[in-house]
């Protein structure tokens, strides 16, 4: 018994689950990881990783504006993300190269705006850390008042995915077939980007704008390497995301002792765990490909890659 408690106290620093900032981080971080994992699977399947990353970066302008106006940061991230999603979809074209270009242009404009707002933050309110907070997140400095709004945002994103599951999946896998079946592909695409904006706003508040891509793409890409079905991949992505987030929070909290009161940033720990999970997920998948390639299937494989 004592050995167990010793182990636990070595693993979890004392104060780990009684400190309020940590609890808030655990709740919001976990929620963000679940939503990002589920939404991320669809994003990766649709080949819209760049759009997912761009939405996160652009929503940082909203975060900076919220800083300036003294609003709830999540609200700022959310509003700007929704505006950017609508902008991207209205610019969007059919060809992938053109779509990426339009995404990039919206991203550039949004980052420019973010530069201006952060500059105004620094000069007008003398909050020198605003750039760091908005770009790299402030997991342990979140007010508990964010929790209800965060849960509402995450819940509505998951609800939207559940309601639109079949048309979303069909239009992601085969847009032509979906159009024949009478699915409004453009509208579904817009809905998907809006849901991504929700998910990304949530994770931008926790791990920061430029690292929220890690929660959106990493677990989903790892899960899609293992799971065969989209539903299973979503579940797995959510699990990987939550494990990485909580593990990251734990390591970051503990690392204050290992490195002499200096601590590693939470986002670094989370990203490292996610990347390791992606690499680990590749090992069995690569074995499978090799096994499949052995009995003279080189032609099929080449066609699949082309």
């Amino acid at each position: 018994m004592t050995r167990v408690s010793l182990l636990l106290s070595a693993l979890f620093e004392p104060g780990w689950n009684s400190s309020e900032p940590v609890l808030t981080a655990v709740v919001i971080g976990g929620g963000a990881a679940v939503v990002s994992g589920v939404v991320g699977v669809l994003t990766v399947m649709r080949g819209q990783s760049f759009a997912g990353h761009a939405l996160a970066d652009v929503s940082s302008a909203g975060g900076a504006a919220a800083f300036l106006l003294g609003l709830n940061p999540l609200l700022g991230f959310l509003l700007m993300g929704v505006i950017a999603a609508a902008g991207m979809e209205s610019f969007a074209a059919h060809r992938i190269r053109e779509r990426d270009l339009a995404t990039g242009v919206v991203l550039g404009a949004g980052l420019g705006l973010s530069a201006l707002l952060l500059y105004l933050d620094v000069t007008s309110k003398s909050t020198t850390g605003a750039a760091i907070t908005v770009m790299f997140g402030s997991m342990f400095a979140m007010p508990p008042s964010v929790v209800p709004l965060a849960l509402a945002v995450g819940g509505s994103a998951l609800l939207a995915i559940a309601l639109l599951y079949r048309p979303l999946l069909l239009s992601s896998l085969d847009p032509a077939l979906a159009r024949v079946r009478g699915v409004p592909v453009r509208l579904i695409g817009l809905c998907h980007l809006l849901v991504v904006a929700f998910a990304v706003a949530l994770s931008a508040v926790t791990v920061g704008a430029i690292l929220s891509t890690a929660l959106l793409i990493g677990p989903a890409a790892a899960a899609l390497r293992i799971a065969g079905r989209p539903g299973g991949a979503m579940l797995l992505a959510a699990v990987i995301g939550v494990a990485a987030t909580w593990g990251g929070i734990l390591i970051a909290y503990d690392s204050y002792d290992w490195t002499g009161g200096h601590g590693w940033p939470v986002s670094f720990c989370i990203v490292t765990i996610i990347f390791l999970a992606y690499l680990a997920a590749g090992c069995p998948a690569r074995g499978k490909v090799r096994a499949a390639a052995r009995p003279g299937k080189a032609g099929v494989q080449a066609a699949g890659r082309g």
Binding site: V44, S49, A109, V122, I132, I217, G218, V271
Partner: protein, 270 residues
Amino acid sequence: MFASFLVNTWIVATIVAAAAGVVGFFVVLRGNSFAAHALPLGTFPGAAAASLLGINPLFGLLTFSGLGVIGISQLGKAGRPEIATALSLVVLLGLGALFLSMSNEYSQATYALLFGEVLGVSSLEIVPVAVVSAVSLALTALLFRPLLLNAVSPELAEARSVPAGRTDILFLGILALTTSAAVPVVGVLLVFSLTIGPPSAARALTNRPVRAMLLSACLSLLTVWASIALALRLGWPVGFFVGGLGALAYGLGRIRMECVRSRRCRARSG
């Protein structure tokens, strides 16, 4: 605006903009926007590490953009390129967060690194920036035909013995060189605006590759000069103007393309 302490800024900005415009032509043609965004942003930890170690930031930037190229091309072997790009980017940024937490003088320097800084260019920094930009321009000129062929028709390029994989990596290398030279002036977040905004406008104005490339370099110069002038005038960050003018250039180009297309349709039906 043309005070002596700003001469260096104008020189560096001119070099950087010309190179970004030329290389940007291929970014737009090949649809490499995500890589053009991820490579410079991924150099962020390089600058942070250089300031930790007290060496010239350009070396840190070049090292980490090299790591970015390796990451994108190695991870891209197993999965789709955009996933490889996204993952390499987040790993590098995670390292950036780590280095940032180790250094103490972070806030203002970080902001300058992310969004650009007009005033901080010393004359010692000009030479490396000029050398790096010249190398990337020379490589682009040398590889002009294979790059163009590979972008327009990868199959035809393979048939003419231009290997697609090696061309991709070479181009990523050129892109990395160009953008990391531009980072100190425009900032890691907005360099890519310079490599996609002006070229996408240029492509709408002409159909010929060489002319489009030169036009793109000119538009990029105009964008950077206007941005710096406005930034000095109003005291706002350069990045804001680079991003805004880049989007404006793209928008105007898109409108012109639509006009040309509809005129062509009308001529055909009439």
